[in-house]
Amino acid sequence: MNLISFLNSPAAKKLGWALCGLAVAGMAILPMTHFGSNAELFTLTLMLTSIGVAINWNITGGFTGYVDFGHAVWFGLGAYVTSMLMAISIKLDPVTLEETVEADGLGTAWGPVPAIIVGALFTGLCAAGIGRATMRLKGPYFSIAMLGTLVAVREIVRVAEPITGGGVGLNLPPYINRPLFYYIHLVLVVVLGVFTWWLRKSQFGTNLIAIREDEIGAEMRGINTIATKVAAFSFSGFSTAVFGGLWAYQNTSVDPDIAFIETRTIDAVLGTLFGGIGTVLGPILGSAGLFWLKEVLWARFTESHLIFQGVLLILLVMYMPKGIAGLFDTRGTSLATIWSKWMPSKDESPDASPTPKSGSGKPVVDTVATSNEGAV
């Protein structure tokens, strides 16, 4: 009783932010302590990557209400364009045993900074183009169209062998500096976290929420819904691609199956749902928690740890649809409105017009509220 009222108070919110600040400060000084070995920094960098991808997924999936099942495509595209611009191949002469380094991919052999920036900008443009087409679709249709995009882009990359290296992939100039990558990721995630906090308060972010709650209503209020949601989607793709490019550089090689792996989407969706969809801190806390849970499970059950992920997804969706954030904020209806976009048209007669019904949101709010009470 007292705990719940405390968790809902502004003081709890301040405490939460203070803890976050403390966590960031702790992570910043970590490489200087004796815990910060290269292996640990590498693991933490991967955690920061998954947090970054989840924050970006939340901008489309949580704020705008478009649940993207193919978000890994932007990560992979960023990784691949960066690699194509930077790729080299080392050839060993069989007679003289001399190594020659040749530019591979697009044959440009750029440095990492311009390559990652160009890769991310290109991905942002692609996201704008694809989003312009797929964001016409609603609910499950959008989700599956994005899953299709992921599968199709992966195959396109596999087919375009002259510039992508086909199924074998590309090699990048090796550069191992764990602390540097760690700090870059930490700064990026902090900047992105603060940016989403600002976005949530800004007029643009409010427009996104308006689109999520009632797209036609938002349009009637004079919001250019298409430009707004496509801009958010494009930013989300751009920002994910930055993490993709960094990942490719750190990994020193890419191939289609690992760059476009579905698990990355699953992690982003699951992490965000775990933390609380449509909130600022949710994807950060959720992805961090999920990452460590996976590490623990992976160490214990190497072969079967992904099965637990499936079980966790089912349990979360059925019994804790608001995630961790639902424990703090019992007023929110953000999830209910995302859910409502997906409400099946069961009770419509076959010749019903496709115009939305004003009352259709109400029962959905009820179901989610009831299920959430069970969780708290």
């Binding site: 199709a152 089912i314 997906w342 179901t367």
Partner: protein, 297 residues
């Protein structure tokens, strides 16, 4: 000309195979409003059962298929009882995410049991029959095509003329009204789900001599099922056949005329069809059990 005829034959045969592959997905969505994200994994489960029977006992997949149908119906019924029934009243996203969880569990479970190696069952119906000097008829796919026609016809007849079939259609069109006239909706859903999972497992058994089976081969099949359903309309048996043949023809044409990378392009083709069909004609090409509009909020 020969090349064109060959593409036509391959396409129609492939289309028949896709028709039986997507039927269960389409009907579950049409009747229950559940998007079975684990559809491809159920196909794989059926295919692995057929492979196991073939590998251990030497049974031909075409002979073990009816038994797999019954077994998979049981699995479908249990899953409906334990899981799907609990989320059926919730919005699409909930059931879709739950089925997404099921697909993760199934794919990794299959990997744990059967390893990630590619498998293929042996059937006595194999090889190619020479129609003319340059045109061949793929024997296994043709057999699957005719079985698919029989299953589709049977299901259609079941939905049109039996009392149970009529209650399934009624439940798809208007759930409340169906309940008012005394249809036990839970029973109808349980039967529909069991039947569709059974058909999906049957399809898996039938394709086990044709496609290589591996635990993570499910998602491309789910994607194709979605493409065909989006093209055809929800729960439409005729539409499933029509849409599947269109997809089969496109894939076969691409594979015949583009050598080497045709199979990769085929997946790209099914995605392009999906998005174009959804954007251009969101209500589907054929009338289904339930109206669909992909752009309505």
């Amino acid at each position: 000309m020969d090349q064109f005829l060959q593409a036509l034959i391959n396409g129609v045969a492939l289309g028949g195979m896709y028709a039986i592959l997507v039927l269960g997905f389409s009907v579950i969505w049409g009747v229950m409003g559940v998007i079975n994200f684990a559809h491809g994994e159920f196909v794989m489960l059926g295919a692995y059962m057929a492979w196991l029977a073939n590998n251990q006992l030497g049974v031909d997949p075409f002979l073990s298929a009816p038994f797999i149908f019954v077994l998979m119906m049981g699995i479908g019924y249990l899953l409906q009882l334990l899981l799907v029934n609990r989320v059926i009243d919730r919005p699409h996203l909930v059931s879709l995410l739950v089925m997404f969880g099921v697909s993760i569990i199934m794919a990794n479970g299959l990997k744990l049991i059967f390893s990630a190696d590619f498998r293929r069952a042996d059937s006595s119906l194999r090889g190619a029959y020479d129609l003319t000097d340059n045109i061949t008829l793929p024997v296994t796919k043709t057999a699957v095509f005719f079985i698919a026609l029989a299953v589709l016809g049977g299901l259609s007849l079941f939905l049109q003329s039996t009392r149970l079939g009529k209650s399934i259609r009624a439940a798809a069109q208007n759930r409340e009204a169906a309940q008012i006239v005394g249809i036990n909706i839970n029973k109808v859903y349980a039967i529909t789900f069991a039947l569709c999972i059974g058909i999906t497992g049957l399809a898996g058994a039938l394709i086990s001599p044709i496609l290589s089976i591996a635990p993570f081969q499910g998602p491309p099949l789910t994607l194709r099922a979605f493409a065909v359903t989006a093209m055809a309309g929800l729960g439409s048996v005729k539409g499933a056949l029509g849409g599947a043949i269109v997809l089969g023809l496109i894939e076969a044409t691409v594979a015949v005329y583009v050598s080497g990378i045709g199979t990769n392009l085929a997946i790209i083709a099914s995605f392009v069809i999906l998005v174009v069909a959804l954007v251009v004609r969101p209500q589907g090409l054929f009338g289904g059990l339930r109206p669909v509009d992909a752009t309505a909020s």
